[in-house]
Amino acid sequence: MDITEVPVSQDNKGKKKKNKKAKKKSVSQEGNEESGGVETKEEKMEKSEPAFPPTFSVSEIKNKQRRHLMFMKLKQEKRKQKMQIKKKKKKEREALGDKAPPKEVPKTIENQRVYDETTVDPEDEEIAFDEGTDEFSAYFNGLTNPKVLITTSDRPRGRTVRFCEQLATVIPNAHVYYRRGLALKRIIPQCIARNFTYLIVINEDRKVPNGLVLCHLPDGPTAHFKISSVRLRKEMKRRGKDPTEHSPEVILNNFTTRLGHSIGRLFAALFPQDPQFVGRQVATFHNQRDFVFFRFHRYIFKNEKKVGIQELGPRFTLKLRSLQKGTFDSKFGEYEWVLKRHEMDACRRKFQL
């Protein structure tokens, strides 16, 4: 009876059986199915500590309950060791006092980012030349003033309409037009004829805006973004009054690569070149890990070293899906860059913008 019972209870490595292990020690060496289990069991009995030889892995245990218990024990062990290491380090640091080595910088995704060879060097002449002669040069040289047309896809719903209106207040010199089923290819020449510099089309899906096509007009590049987390003005906490008519300043953060640079210029050209500081408004496009966050704030300088900001205006996040060379043409357009999910999203530390 004892012998037959032993294999069953032996293999049960649950905590409940720890007490009984000592009794069954002698019998445990016989008749075992899992060799790994035996070794660990014996070691356990000797050291009264779960010690795992390197060949043993928790996944080899077939029984779910036992496997779960073993895994939890493993985790506890690891945690304990980690805490011990931490304590030791802390003690050393305190002991050394001043001479302690500087704290190690934790690894972040930004730290570990795979170096992109298209990163823009601020002093690169080639890039400076390119930017001097590309489609935005007219804007950046102060020749043209931005004039923006905002429209939607067919039959927009309430949220999208409100979003368009708020965008129009944020971007100076912007006009909202109802789409009415017109083809974009026919709208574009009309816009060019009326001296618009930008066309924004907000695509809607299930009553919520989810896409943005930003087209620079006199045959400029077209960028297609995915919009997410749109927050309208009345949903903002602690928001200020409505934005005034003053043209805001623009902040573009973290656009490092060539692609990022061109997108940054695309955003910058939306706003007039000379911001009115009287208005104290700032529109921010912050790129983090390929997501572009848009915020609109009003700032006030309390003194030299402190500034207070208050968020007005809508906020949304953009993710670039494709960049096309000419104006909007989905069939025959020449795509400069397209998001290819399998290639580009495969590595967590690789970013395009």
Binding site: D98, I109, N253, F277, V278, R289, F301, K305
Partner: protein
Amino acid sequence: MQHDDVIWDIIGNQQFCSFKVKTKSQGFCRNEYNVTGLCNRSSCPLANSQYATIREEKGQCFLYMKVIERAAFPAKMWEKVKLSKNYEKALEQIDENLIYWPRFIRHKCKQRFTKITQYLIRMRKLVLKRQRKLVPLSRKVERREKRKEEKALIAAQLDNAIEKELLERLKQGTYGDIYNFPVHAFDRALEQQDAESESEEEEEGEEEEEDDEDTGKREFVAEEEVEESDLSDFEDMNKLKTSSDEEEQDEEEESSEEEEEEEEEEEEEETMTKASRSKGKSPANGSAARKKRAYVEIEYETEPVAKSRATS
């Protein structure tokens, strides 16, 4: 022999017809050769040995006719006539093919033909208009992207980044003369701070410098109200820099000139304050919260500073 009445008796009323679809108000006939689509004695293609329909294949309309003479040859029962694409000509064709046929069938055939041409025209028009392209979303991908976005938002620390950028611009002077913050008001506040915590020798030097600076610069009264919190912030920064400060002071006390020490310290403290600010000392909330936080911390900080003084 074709007994239409018998057939209709069976399938129409009493027994089962596999083409019949019954609803509450009406019965429909799913037979492809049915002219009207309803289940009636006169519209049933099975119960009428003389019957005609219009059917459409790939945009082409055909007239199908069934006569009793061919009732024995199921394979050749339906006679198919191609109708012209011209609407009027096609109607004439129907008329001439169905001459001497019962009024009902002629009428219904023409009606059906009209309907068919209408929907063919609409189809052609729609193709020319813009068509909505449905792009499938992958649920997993969307979930992953959402999570990535949240993480990116946290990593971005937007408020701090914006504030830092604005202060940078102020420093570089892009705002011109709009904001007249005297640069040395800050220094003066720092010097007062130093005077409290450092040795007396340095205090004399600072006072001399203060006098010199006072003559040139204007003071803004509003600034002083805010300076309480500024002072507390400076003490914050002092707390942050204690270790490096001690090192600097140790080194500098060894050197001879006092004024240089002070200037270096001030500069270093300025840079440290900038760094500490950008590290996110300022919370996302408004200034009220900031001030409160600073006030609380004043009480704690003086003690450790005093302690470190003692040890050094």
